[in-house]
């Protein structure tokens, strides 16, 4: 339909344009329920926070450039590394993958016109934005959380950290968790119920499987974190005794609860990256993924098994050997589904005819870094070795290869890959390749020497280190490389920014991609598809006959559903047409509700319980407004 539309078809397109037209200007963005606009807002918010986290990383590296560094005071260093962790994990990677990529692409890939709950989708974004601001107010007020991103008690208790900085962490993460929970419920229902008729589960793209797995993992992992943070705040603000060993509490309770969340979290971070990789690889190798069903199964298995391994973060707390050995075995088992996916990508590249354009280069970088991070992860499942290098720079090296190398590289590749779809313009390929190599080399040289420093006995979270232990040279190299890496990231942003204004127009399908989003115009119209697409395989764009059929259906007005905000709802497994869903239009209530919620958390932080209850009542009123007038879906 993106090609030539006949006058008859154009009538339907015009009708859709009228029905789905978005409001203009600031009000339009504030009240939008369009998943693409929400995705874009997620993208820029997460990108800004990535910048903040990146600056924090550079400050850390500058401080550690040489022994006895004096760039930051010890107190400032502790706040900076804590904020770096919180920002990258909670405010950048998850919102960037699920929020930005998931929001923008999922409905497109499954041939829907929006998410299942468009207003709740907007609400998720506004809560995320508010929680990000909430956390950064802590830094702005001069004392941010400073007990590390895993915030062990009793260091984080009122006794040892009497200021309100940790309260920003405790309440902020619960606040942020509400956003994520709402978002993943939306994703799961969207994937289950809004797939284009014909897209049965076995025809769903692997990208969507990855996001489905992530959504379930988040849904079940977040409660543990929220409960842990609730206990923390009850202890800190109301004198409860959950974590106080002197009164029957248990400091290890925090560690258990945190890592029951924290380990699935690692897979929550990496799985969307797997999904992006499985979207990019078939396109650039010009073939289908090798072993599609096994890869889909592996994606789900990773998310599931991730819940059974948390004690491997606690091998040094003095648990009985039998406990640690059980969790070491579980940690080793999880290698298998990861290895399946790894070799499925490699086999696809080997058997296909790969074309090494910039997005593909980032995926190759991702594969290389994932192998390194995966292998160092395996070594950490060897308990005695883990007990040596735990909390040393070896661990920093390991998880930066996994989280930066393996999770962020696909994000960067995905930014290049879908840039033409989102903007309608093509980026500069030469600059793209240069930016890849700069980022790749920068990443490797920044993080690889950290393995060696860990083996040499350099502990993590040290605001400085003495001369004479042999740490100086490698730290200096890492710091220089970190700035190279930062340069690479900036060059990506500049490439995309300049291309947005000056890049050549690219048409709807510059890559000959395999999934549905390439069938609609670039950028996609507010209604995504004039005709809800026909789907007969997991690679619908390679089914040319189906796409021609869609063009003929547009002529007949079949599957257009132009009388109002409509999208088909289908059955969970076979995606048979079940009902015509009426989607809500724009609404001001999501940002209003998010603001009231921000009021609740601010008042909890300040200890004004009655005002907090007042804001909770304001939420109830906002929800009444939400449901009150003509906006009923």
């Amino acid at each position: 339909m993106a090609t030539v539309v006949s006058p008859r078809g154009q009538r339907y397109v015009d009708l859709l344009e009228r029905v789905w037209g978005e409001r203009k200007g600031l009000v339009g963005w504030l009240t939008t329920t369009d998943h693409k606009r929400i995705g874009i807002m997620y993208f820029f918010t997460a990108l800004a926070l990535f910048g903040a986290g990146g600056v924090e990383a550079l400050l850390i590296r500058t401080q550690l450039f040489g022994p006895n560094g004096h760039v930051l005071s010890p107190a400032a260093y502790d706040e900076i590394f804590t904020m770096h962790g919180i920002t990258m994990i909670f405010l950048f990677v998850i919102p960037m993958t699920t929020g930005a990529f998931g929001n923008y692409l999922l409905p497109l890939m499954i041939g829907a016109r929006d998410m299942a709950f468009p207003r709740m989708n907007a609400l998720s974004y506004w809560i995320y934005l508010a929680s990000g601001i909430f956390m950064y107010i802590a830094l702005a007020q001069g004392h941010a959380p400073n007990a590390g991103w895993f915030n062990y008690v009793p260091l984080a208790s009122k006794t040892y950290d009497p200021s309100n900085n940790i309260d920003f962490y405790g309440w902020g993460l619960i606040f942020n968790g509400i956003s994520s929970t709402a978002a993943v419920i939306n994703f799961i229902v969207t994937i289950f119920k809004l797939r284009a008729p014909g897209m049965s589960l076995n025809r769903m793209p692997l990208f969507c499987y990855a996001f489905l797995a992530v959504s379930f993992a988040l849904l079940f992992a977040l409660p543990s974190l929220s409960v842990a943070c609730l206990f923390l705040e009850l202890d800190r603000q109301f004198g409860f005794q959950f974590y106080n060993a002197a009164h029957g509490g248990a400091p290890l309770l925090w560690q258990n609860l945190f890592w029951i969340f924290g380990h699935p979290e690692v897979y929550i971070i990496i799985l969307p990256a797997f999904g992006i990789a499985t979207a990019i690889i078939p396109t650039f190798t010009h073939r289908k993924m090798v072993f599609f069903p096994l890869v889909a199964l592996a994606e789900i298995l990773v998310a599931f098994l991730g819940f059974g391994v948390w004690v491997h973060h606690m091998f040094t707390v003095g648990y009985a050997t039998v406990t640690t050995v059980y969790f070491a075995a579980a940690s080793l088992i999880i290698v298998i589904p990861s290895a399946i996916q790894l070799f499925a990508w490699i086999a696809t590249i080997m058997t296909g005819t790969p074309e090494f354009k910039t997005p593909m280069l980032f995926i190759i970088g991702f594969i290389v870094f994932f192998i390194i991070g995966g292998l160092s992860g395996v070594t950490l499942a060897a308990i005695p070795f883990d007990q040596q290098v735990h909390d040393s720079y070896y661990v920093i090296a390991h998880f930066h290869f996994v989280i930066f190398g393996a999770a962020v590289f696909p994000i960067l590749g995905g930014m290049y890959f879908w840039f033409p779809k989102v903007t309608g313009r093509m980026y500069n390929e030469t600059v793209g390749k240069v930016s890849f190599w700069t980022t790749f080399v920068g990443t490797f040289v920044t993080f690889f020497p950290m393995h060696i420093l860990g083996l040499m006995g350099m502990i993590r979270r040290n605001y400085t280190y003495p001369a004479g232990l042999g740490f100086s040279t490698l730290n200096a190299v890492e710091t220089v490389a970190a700035f190279v890496l930062a340069g690479g990231l900036v060059s990506i942003v500049l490439n995309l920014l300049i291309s947005y204004f000056k890049g050549p127009m690219c048409g709807s399908d510059p890559w000959e991609g395999d999934t549905l989003e390439w069938s609609t115009s670039s950028p996609p119209p507010p209604y995504n598809y004039a005709v809800i697409p026909t789907v007969t395989s997991p690679y619908p764009m390679w089914d040319k006959a189906d796409r021609e059929l869609d063009n003929r259906r547009l002529e007949r007005g079949e599957g257009v559903f132009a009388l109002g905000h409509r999208t088909p709802g289908s059955t969970v497994q076979d995606a048979e047409f079940d009902e015509l869903l009426k989607m809500p239009p724009h609404s001001i209530w999501p940002p209003v509700t998010a603001m009231a919620l921000a009021g609740v958390f601010t008042m909890l932080l300040l200890g004004h319980l009655f005002i907090a209850v007042g804001f909770a009542a304001a939420i109830a009123l906002a929800l009444l407004g939400w449901h009150h007038r003509g906006s009923e879906p």
Binding site: S73, P74, A75, A147, Y152, P154, L155, Y160, A245, P251, L252, V290, F291, L294, V317, G318, T324, V325, V335, I336, A339, Q341, L342, I346, M350, T351, P354, E355, F356, I367, I371, I372, L375, V378, T379, A381, A382, I383, P384, F385, Q387, Q388, V389, D391, S392, F448, P449, I452, L455, M456, G457, I459, R460, R461, N462, T464, Y465, L469, G470, L474
Partner: protein, 324 residues
């Protein structure tokens, strides 16, 4: 290049796990080299596959096997399940069944000596037996002797780690964790708190000093004696000042009215080689600087700036210099 050079450098570090000096640390190092070797093979092999993919990027299908989907799937099964399974089972057996026995807490009655190490923000209290002698930041042990370390904490979570001698063990409120300490030969081994414990986590080092049994016994006997009486007028003035100022409310000096327990025991402070938990050498000049303005040296430390004049500082230094 980087790898080799770096690892060579790590071999001679004072806090490196590679330059191990005990059987458990040695076992872990050997395990590490094996894991590095196998991981290197896996890495090179996987990257070789990618290189093959690049070299024959214009022809579909595998080398030799051609466009055979079953072969591609077999490759995934072999390298994704078959080979990893074998490697992982082997790794599990070696590390988590066999080697783990060496790094586990020592069985009762297999050790000749028990030392209590108590983590504080940010220094280490060291007690021999259940009471005295008490010292700080330097743990003397007899060489080639199994020593049972009981690791506890007085405040937040710390972690006891002497990489050349053994794995680390966390110190957790309400918990008594134990770890074996053993040194093959005499020497001074650096260790450090490895669980983030607040502002001065980076400067919470200690030393394990392994010495021949006779030397250890005489050291221990000396440590059990009360503090020496000051001999010079300057030192006597320092003692009076110490006892009448805030110093004595935090520090303990055996045989004197100073009975504080907040800071390190100073009964034989001159016998130690460093101050402030391994941060500065224990010389009169550094000691004077430390007493005069500890916050300038170790910001956030529990030892406050006492506002003493340089004259008073030098008196106290003279006193402490005699606490050998």
């Amino acid at each position: 290049m980087i790898v080799v050079g770096g690892l060579l450098a790590s071999g001679c570090g004072r806090q490196s796990i590679i330059s191990n000096q005990s059987p458990p640390a040695h076992g872990i190092t050997v395990l590490w080299w094996w894991m590095l070797g196998v991981a290197g093979l896996v890495f090179v092999g996987s990257v070789a596959f990618l290189v093959i993919g690049y070299v024959k990027r214009h022809t579909p299908g595998l080398p030799f096997l051609g466009q055979n989907e079953l072969a591609a799937q077999g490759l995934v099964l072999l390298f994704g399940i078959g080979i990893p399974l074998g490697v992982l089972v082997a790794l599990f057996g070696v590390s988590d069944v066999y080697l783990i026995r060496q790094t586990a807490a020592p069985a009762p009655n297999t050790t000749r000596l028990t030392i209590h190490v108590i983590g504080h923000q940010w220094w280490w209290e060291v007690r021999y037996g259940d009471g005295h002698p008490v010292t700080a930041n330097e743990i003397h042990i007899p060489v080639r002797t199994r020593v049972n370390v009981v690791a506890t904490t007085a405040d937040v979570i710390h972690s006891f780690w002497v990489p050349q001698l053994n794995r680390k063990i966390d110190m957790i409120p309400g918990q008594r964790n134990r770890v074996l300490l053993y040194a093959n030969r005499s020497g001074k081994y650096r260790g450090q708190c490895s669980q983030y414990c607040g502002l001065q986590h980076a400067n919470m080092a200690m030393f394990v000093i392994a010495q021949p049994a006779p030397a250890f016994r005489s050291w221990l006997a000396h440590m059990s004696t009360p503090a020496a009486k000051p001999t010079t007028p300057q030192a006597r003035a320092g003692e009076r000042l110490f006892m009448n100022s805030q110093c004595s409310s935090c520090h303990f000096i055996g045989g004197t009215p100073a009975q504080g327990t907040v800071g390190p025991d100073l009964t034989h402070v001159k016998s130690r080689s460093t101050l402030a938990s391994g941060m500065i050498p224990n010389t009169p000049k550094w000691l004077a600087d430390w007493i005069h303005n500890p916050q300038a040296i170790k910001p956030g430390d529990r030892m406050p700036d006492l506002g003493l004049s340089w004259g008073e500082v030098h008196q106290i230094v003279a006193y402490l210099q005699e606490l050998k």
